[in-house]
């Protein structure tokens, strides 16, 4: 039910509080639908004030209630993870949303979160899984089958997802940033070495520069852009939270840790969609045109562009023979 988005850049500006809401009812409805479908209503609600008593005010209030629960849940679960690993000499690094919330970053405000991502040294993977298991996190039902379990453990960058038996919360335990088979191999050990403690807590997070780089790796090196607006807003806010020095050192650090390509693509996106001029922004023609087509939310090119991005995400993740075998399995399971 995708509506034609008149101009994605206008929508992104409104969603990040840089432009007022549209006056025209039709444009307002299109913007709201776009924000709903992009799962960013909570973030919109944090920067937009709707007139009291309107449907928009109700919709935003509803989104605010949901995202504030997500943040409470995340804070609580992070605390439980800390407790589960207590005394084991494992210091997990919080990734993505859980790190943004723990550090009160712009990117966390109103963000919808459904799972918790942590990173531990590969040598401590078994111990981490055992301790989390004792605390109630077991293999998630949808991936608890033998094929998925062995697939994750053999090829992926994380354990199969763990779901808490009573609270139903989901943890992804990573030991690297991209699948073992991935085409780009960011040096997660270097990034882990630069990680630091959150103030007033003994949990760890990446440095601000590495945090942006990791988000770029996740979005441009791994994902299929299912919710591009949400990803772009995340990178926009992460960039906003960097100092000038950190911004300038971004590409050098990215090259240093082997993530030059996704970082340059992320910077291209900031230029393309937010008019942020950051040096070294580069992306391939195919990626550019696919993203433009997908984010325009219209036209017959959509399906093709989405398919290309889907195939690209798998191409980035694994070599062709492995990919063909895996896609065949997934196809058989779907029909």
């Amino acid at each position: 039910m995708i509506q034609r988005a008149p101009d994605i850049k206008d929508f992104l500006r409104i969603a990040t509080g840089q432009a007022p809401l549209p006056d025209q009812p039709q444009a307002l409805a299109a913007f709201t639908l776009w924000a709903q479908q992009s799962h960013i209503l909570g973030q919109v609600a944090a920067v937009v004030d709707a007139p009291v008593g309107t449907k928009l005010a109700e919709i935003l209030e509803n989104a605010r209630l949901r995202s504030s629960y997500d943040q409470r849940m995340l804070t609580f679960e992070t605390n439980r993870i800390k407790r589960a690993l207590m005394g084991a000499d494992i210091q997990p690094i919080l990734l993505k949303g859980s790190a943004y919330v723990a550090e009160h970053l712009l990117a966390s405000i109103g963000r919808r979160v459904s799972d918790i991502d942590i990173l531990v040294p590969e040598a401590q993977l078994g111990e981490t899984e055992r301790l989390l298991g004792q605390a109630g996190w077991r293999a998630e039902e949808s991936t608890s089958g033998a094929y998925d379990q062995q697939y994750y453990r053999r090829w992926m960058h994380e354990l199969p997802p763990l779901r808490h038996v009573t609270r139903r919360t989901l943890i992804d335990v990573h030991h690297r940033l991209l699948p073992r088979t991935s085409r780009i191999r960011p040096d997660h050990l270097k990034m882990m070495a630069a990680a630091r403690q959150i103030e007033g807590s003994d949990l760890m997070v990446f440095s601000p520069t590495d945090r942006f780089i990791h988000s770029a790796i996740h979005i441009f090196g791994d994902g299929a852009f299912e919710t591009p607006a949400r990803s772009f807003i995340e990178l926009y806010y992460l960039y906003q939270d960097l100092s000038d020095d950190e911004r300038q050192g971004l590409l050098a650090r990215a090259t240093d840790v082997g993530a030059q390509k996704p970082t340059a693509e992320a910077l291209w996106m900031l230029d393309e969609y937010f008019d942020i001029k950051a040096g070294g922004a580069r992306a391939s023609l195919v990626l550019k045109s696919c993203l433009r087509s997908v984010t325009a939310g219209q036209g017959s090119g959509q399906f093709l562009a989405n398919s290309v991005l889907y195939v690209r995400s798998h191409y980035m993740r694994m070599p062709l023979p492995l990919l063909l075998g895996h896609l065949w399995k997934k196809l058989l399971r779907r029909v």
Binding site: A29, Q36, Q37, K55, I59, Y69, S142, R334, V335
Partner: protein, 309 residues
């Protein structure tokens, strides 16, 4: 904003709006954008929701969006299936295309249950006598829907067959009068007293058995903006051949059972607790057991008379 009863629109306009996903259903506290493409769900919608206000204007803001679509391209053409898509990932079971009305009703339930946080929601039927509401809490096979439909015949207003929607500030229940979902033996029972014109065609062999729907009356739709103050909660149990019996239960137990049936109580948090406690003040809760619709109606009459002036 241009909003009229569905039946006041030309047929072709409604069908076109449903197919292109621009129809907005304005029911109780929620506006829902609906997209349907198969004949059967479109006919079902036009029939069961005929008295409901809708808009076919694209510029209407909606709380939820619901689209019925094939689970994948393959199932669009071969052994056709349909799945409700409420706009977020949910492992809904694909159904054969003939069961699209069920997929639609399940989809609307999902939309409300998993996306509404402005109100606390409990799984229960709600009917009202004027501004006083009766909550019929759900227990599978308890006979909630049959009792709800039977009370409609006794001139109770239908607020909802599925959800008690609690306004946390006012401690009142919102009306969301959708078709009453009937299963198996209760279909013929309700056809018997409501008349078969009020009940949809039966869908056979669904994952829930045989399913049919009892249409809300135009009066339920006309009065749907009138919230009602809950006075009595019943936990019904239908047992074949049982003696009619009622047993008062502690309000704390009633609260625990309601909370267990709520899809959003945890998400709302503290306000849901305090709102529920305010709602329960002065209420009475009973378990009732019965073996026939007549007995259940007699029990309700008796308890209602004893507690609601």
């Amino acid at each position: 904003m241009n909003r009229r009863a569905l039946s006041d629109y030309p047929r072709s306009d409604v069908i076109h709006a449903l197919r292109s996903g621009t129809l907005a259903l304005d029911l109780g506290p929620f506006l829902t954008r609906i997209k349907l493409s198969d004949r059967r769900s479109i006919d079902f919608f036009r029939d069961m929701y005929a008295a409901c206000p809708v808009s076919i204007d694209k510029a209407v803001l909606c709380d939820f969006s619901l689209c019925l679509r094939p689970p994948n391209k393959f199932r669009k053409y071969f052994r056709r299936q349909i799945v409700p898509d409420p706009g977020f990932q949910f492992p809904a079971v694909p159904l054969p295309l003939e069961m699209s009305p069920l997929a639609f009703e399940m989809g609307l339930n999902l939309s409300v249950a998993l996306q509404c946080f402005r109100f606390a929601i409990f799984h229960a039927g709600v009917v009202a006598d004027g501004d006083n509401a009766l909550i019929i809490a759900a227990k599978s096979g308890g006979g909630k829907s049959t009792l709800t439909a039977a009370l409609m015949e006794e001139d109770w207003r239908l607020l909802s067959d599925e959800f008690a929607i609690l306004d946390l500030d006012a401690a009142t229940l919102k009306a969301y009068p959708r078709p009453v979902s009937l299963k198996n033996a209760s279909i013929d029972v309700v056809r018997g007293f409501a008349g078969s014109g009020q009940v949809s065609d039966t869908l056979h062999d669904t994952p829930k058995g045989a399913i049919a729907y009892r249409r809300p009356r135009p009066s339920d739709i006309e009065t749907m903006q009138r919230a009602a103050k809950p006075r009595l909660i019943l936990f019904p149990r239908f047992t074949d051949g049982a003696q009619a019996e009622s047993r008062e239960i502690d309000l704390a137990d009633a609260a625990m059972q309601l909370i267990a049936s709520s899809p959003n109580y945890q998400v709302i948090g503290e306000r849901a607790f305090s709102g529920l406690m305010t709602m329960l003040e002065g209420m009475k809760a009973y378990e009732i057991e019965y073996g026939s619709t007549e007995d259940s109606l007699a029990l309700v009459r008796e308890l209602w008379k004893a507690h609601v002036p």
